[in-house]
């Protein structure tokens, strides 16, 4: 019991964040909130990768005397790339929101589609 709940708490945080972010993307009509939800969703995956790389009792992967066990650095490096991708996605998304606001005077999804259908 304690093993699954406390021992794997990183994974619980990941799952909670993932579901929360995903739910926000699906349920909110406000485009900015969607972007935030998307960010939370992606962040959960970053945490997941970093958790995967951790070796219990391991230290930073720099060879030094007295240390035998090292954590795996590769997932952290991969996620550095994914974070850059995430930043790029967010900036593209936000600039689209700005242009949508200019064109439609609103950032509520249903109002945007209502405007186009009305014409």
């Amino acid at each position: 019991m304690n093993e699954t709940v406390l021992g794997l708490y990183n994974y619980w945080v990941v799952i909670f964040l993932m579901m929360m972010g995903f739910y926000i993307v699906i349920s909110r009509g406000n485009l900015i909130k969607k972007v935030i939800g998307l960010n939370i969703f992606q962040s959960s995956v970053f945490l997941f990768y970093i958790t995967v790389g951790k070796v219990s009792g391991g230290t930073a992967p720099i060879t030094a005397e007295g240390f035998e066990v090292y954590s795996n650095p590769l997932p952290s490096v991969l996620i550095l790339t994914a974070i850059v991708v995430g930043v790029a996605t967010t900036s593209v998304a936000l600039s689209l929101v700005v242009r949508i606001r200019e064109a439609y005077e609103t950032i509520e999804e249903d109002e945007i589609y209502a405007q186009d259908e009305a014409r």
């Binding site: 995903f22 993307v25 485009l31 969607k34 998307l38 969703f41 992606q42 995956v45 997941f48 990768y49 995967v52 997932p75 991969l78 790339t81 994914a82 991708v85 790029a88 996605t89 593209v92 998304a93 689209l96 929101v97 242009r99 949508i100 064109a103 439609y104 999804e109 945007i112 589609y113 186009d116």
Partner: protein, 496 residues
């Protein structure tokens, strides 16, 4: 060609457009940028043709990026399937950009042309990278390179609907890519490797573990989102309908096809035929979705007033054909799926290019406005009709070859129902193609159609080259179905 250069071809395939993209920003002058980008695209096409030649002659090419040996470093791996995808993606990219200048002048402000070229080359880089890489994480990175640039390309569309369409695509595309990222992470957790061939060797030991199953689930859903498999296609129609004509032509012809390629790679090369199809029954899951997609999307296409939107729905249906071929998981079925990747890329690319000609002269792609257009723009609309015949699958067009293989695959498996459904679905295509042909050739011209002139030769020639190719490959199939057959066999064998 010198040996040294030939050895570097795999990396040049990606590096040339990647480096050329920022150069477009430095060049900036419109008169320089477009010819430069077009030249770069033709050069990448040339590289891919050489690669295909090498692969067909000497077998799989493996390239170690930066000299780091394979399971640790990133490997570029070109087999028959990858080379086939590289050739048609780079070929269509080059042809569409050759066609582009007049259409761009009309639809995108001249001050933004250099940005368009940058984005376009980045998108090409991403798509080619996906096809060539043998590293799982690399797939994700290239996927996002191509996706992010295509969001921006779509948002360049002239009407404001392009903006929410691009945003919706961004949200769904990012969710799809993140799902793929989760799947790759879980697989890395199980096997400790990111190299596809290495992973294929290590996976059988852990295939029963739930983590591997979850990874498989995330990957399947993520890829299905990216390739717009029904019912995950909602982002596609608006994105294709409101993007600039040039962008529609390029993205409709290539982006979803490359996603289908990712599906093939993951399900056959990495997970393996036995695990994906025999243990988990992926075929049984994909087939109903594919058939539902073919019928629902074709029916919806019939009722569209906007012809670009109609073609977009037709694309969703065509993805259904490709996935149907894959779901058989036999040599004939896969050949049908893979050759349809290629044939549909030609047909849909050509059709969207013809719509670009219509957009240039009519400033509308509304079916009512296109009434009687066959008189004012006979060459454009004849090209359109030729592409439409390909969509239906009339003999002596490329579309027929794909359907021939698919029906054969269905009959091989004794699923007569699927074969009959395939034939019936062609009737739906006939209806939506005929609607446009009838309106354009047999209706009284609309006010706008009366004033329209034939599209300029600079646009007509590439359109006809692409649609002419559909007839060529409908009759002479050595380099379409022939290569596809070789690719299908290689894929079924799995990675050596």
């Amino acid at each position: 060609m010198s040996q040294a250069l030939q050895a570097q071809l795999p990396v040049l395939q990606v590096v040339i457009p990647l480096l050329a993209a920022p150069l477009c920003i430095i060049l900036r002058r419109r008169s320089l940028v477009l010819p430069f980008a077009t030249g770069v695209c033709w050069l990448t096409f040339l590289v891919s043709v050489f690669l295909l030649g090498d692969v067909l002659e000497a077998g799989v090419i493996s390239y170690e990026l930066g000299g780091w040996a394979a399971p640790w470093g990133i490997e570029y791996r070109v087999d028959a399937l990858a080379a086939f995808v590289l050739v048609f993606v780079s070929g269509i990219a080059a042809l569409v950009l050759t066609y582009a200048p007049r259409s761009l002048n009309d639809e995108i402000p001249a001050s933004r042309h250099y940005l368009f070229c940058t984005l376009y080359l980045l998108c090409v880089t991403g798509l080619l990278g996906i096809a060539i890489t043998g590293d799982l994480f690399n797939v994700f990175v290239f996927l996002e390179v191509s996706a992010l640039s295509s969001y921006a390309l779509i948002a360049l569309g002239g009407r404001r609907q392009a903006l929410p369409a691009a945003f919706q695509y961004l949200v769904m595309g990012t969710i799809g890519a993140t799902f793929i990222l989760i799947g790759i992470g879980l697989m890395y957790q199980m096997t400790g490797t990111l190299n596809m061939a290495d992973m294929a060797e290590r996976l059988p030991a852990v295939e029963g573990v739930r983590t591997a199953l979850v990874a498989f689930g995330f990957l399947t859903v993520g890829i299905a989102l990216k390739m717009a498999l029904f019912p995950l296609h909602v982002w596609l129609p608006n994105a294709y309908a409101y993007a600039p004509s040039v962008v529609s032509a390029f993205i409709a012809a290539t982006a979803t096809k490359v996603s289908v390629y990712i599906l093939l790679r993951f399900m056959f090369s990495v997970f393996g035929l036995e695990f994906s199809f025999e243990q988990l029954g992926l075929g049984r899951a994909l087939m109903p979705l594919a058939l539902a997609g073919i019928f629902v999307a074709s029916t919806v296409a019939i009722f569209q007033r906007n012809v670009k939107r109609m073609l977009a729905y037709s694309s969703v249906a065509q993805i259904g054909y490709m996935v149907l071929g894959i779901s058989f998981a036999t040599a004939t079925g896969l050949t049908g799926g893979i050759v349809h990747l290629f044939n549909h890329a030609l047909i849909k690319g050509g059709l969207f290019m013809a719509m670009g000609c219509v957009m240039l002269r009519l400033h509308s792609v509304d079916l009512d406005e296109m009434a009687g257009l066959g008189r004012a723009m006979p060459w454009t609309m004849a090209a359109w009709a030729l592409g439409g015949l390909g969509l239906i699958g009339v003999p002596a067009t490329a579309g027929f070859i794909s359907k021939w293989y698919l029906i054969q695959a269905a009959l091989e498996q004794n699923s007569l129902i699927v074969a009959v459904l395939l034939l019936l679905s062609s009737l739906l295509a006939l209806v939506y193609v005929w609607r446009v042909v009838e309106t354009a050739f047999f209706h009284e011209p609309s006010a706008r159609a009366r004033e329209a002139r034939e599209a300029p030769l600079a646009m007509l020639v590439p359109t006809w080259v692409l649609l002419g190719a559909t007839v060529f490959f409908g009759i002479y199939t050595r380099y379409s179905a022939g290569v596809a057959e070789q690719a299908a066999e290689a894929v079924l064998r799995g990675l050596p």
